[in-house]
Amino acid sequence: MKSRFIVTPILCTGCRTCELACSFTHAKDGKVGRSRIYPLNGGFKDLYVPVVCLQCEDPACVKSCLVDAIYFNENTGAYEINTEICVRCMACVAACPFGCSLFDTQQNLVIKCDLCGGDPVCAHFCPTKALTYKSIAV
């Protein structure tokens, strides 16, 4: 049994609680710009899509990293960045086709969703269950 992070855009109301939850979890001052999840309006009325790292099977960020700083965490199923190895060449930021590898200009770090180490906080805070983290049969 593997756990996956499941996004259901139809249920999203665009309340941006996930953005706040993410910012407060990963940055001390909780600035929304530090968030790894972006509930964006996809051009349709009343339809918001939480754009977050999809943890692809053959990710462009891992392929583009020239120093092997992005690795797969077997326990959580997330691709994580080792910020000590990262040389900030911005290859993964430019290469990700979903735009989910981000550059934090304040901390001078490349950041991406790491599923909070196996228990995503945004899924706990989502009021409409548009974001869930549950076990799925593989």
Binding site: G42, K63, V67, M90, V93, C96
Partner: protein
Amino acid sequence: MVTVTINGKLVRAKEGEMLLAVLRREKIDIPALCHHEAVEPYGACRLCMVEITRKEWDGWKNMVTSCLYPVADGLIIQTHTTDLIELRKTILDLYLARCPNTPEIQDLAAQYGVMQTSYEQVADPNDCILCGLCTRICDRMGFSAISAVNRGHGREIAPPLKNAPPDCVGCLACALNCPTNYIKYTDIGHTREIWGRKFELLRDAKTGQLTITKEFAEYLSKHRVIPQDYFDLNDESHRKETALSLGKIAIWSREVPQ
């Protein structure tokens, strides 16, 4: 697992790990300028020196660079003895003679109480401490565009024959990881200049924001099998595109009866 003694405290460490990694994990403040996790340890800056001894050495001690010394069972490590602080002061004194106007070196020297060098300053000072971190990172990324040239007093970091480096892609990894900010680059308009070579910066097709250089994108698509059109947009526009395409699927799944 091996057990070492650090400042009188027993600490467990993985076999083959370098001492500096263990010291950093134990939150012991060891200055190091040339250390980076992405590359092999090099031992150039000499600031991470620690004192090691063993029970069977009968009081004999040795000073080693902790970034290069693998942990072993029964090592007894001291990190801030009078000798070591004196040694670091001397090294920083020498650094100040070489780089008197570098804020990073001045700050570190001030922490150890060295405000001014006691040696003769070099005639033409610059910010480079010749730690070789930029060349090692460049080698690790697979470009090898720059390296240390000449010997002795004339040693410096330079591209081949001091011309515009043909292998450089303008990724800025050397400049951003330089411990003393010696490597300078300029981003003017859509042109980036580093090591005397000009690069064209790619622009986002929608908003016109700048991303990486054209050469870097070409290298990534050629050697790392990433489609070239991934580089047409920056991360913000990519997110909007994702929201649009996932929104289409959501609308479609809502209209189609289950």
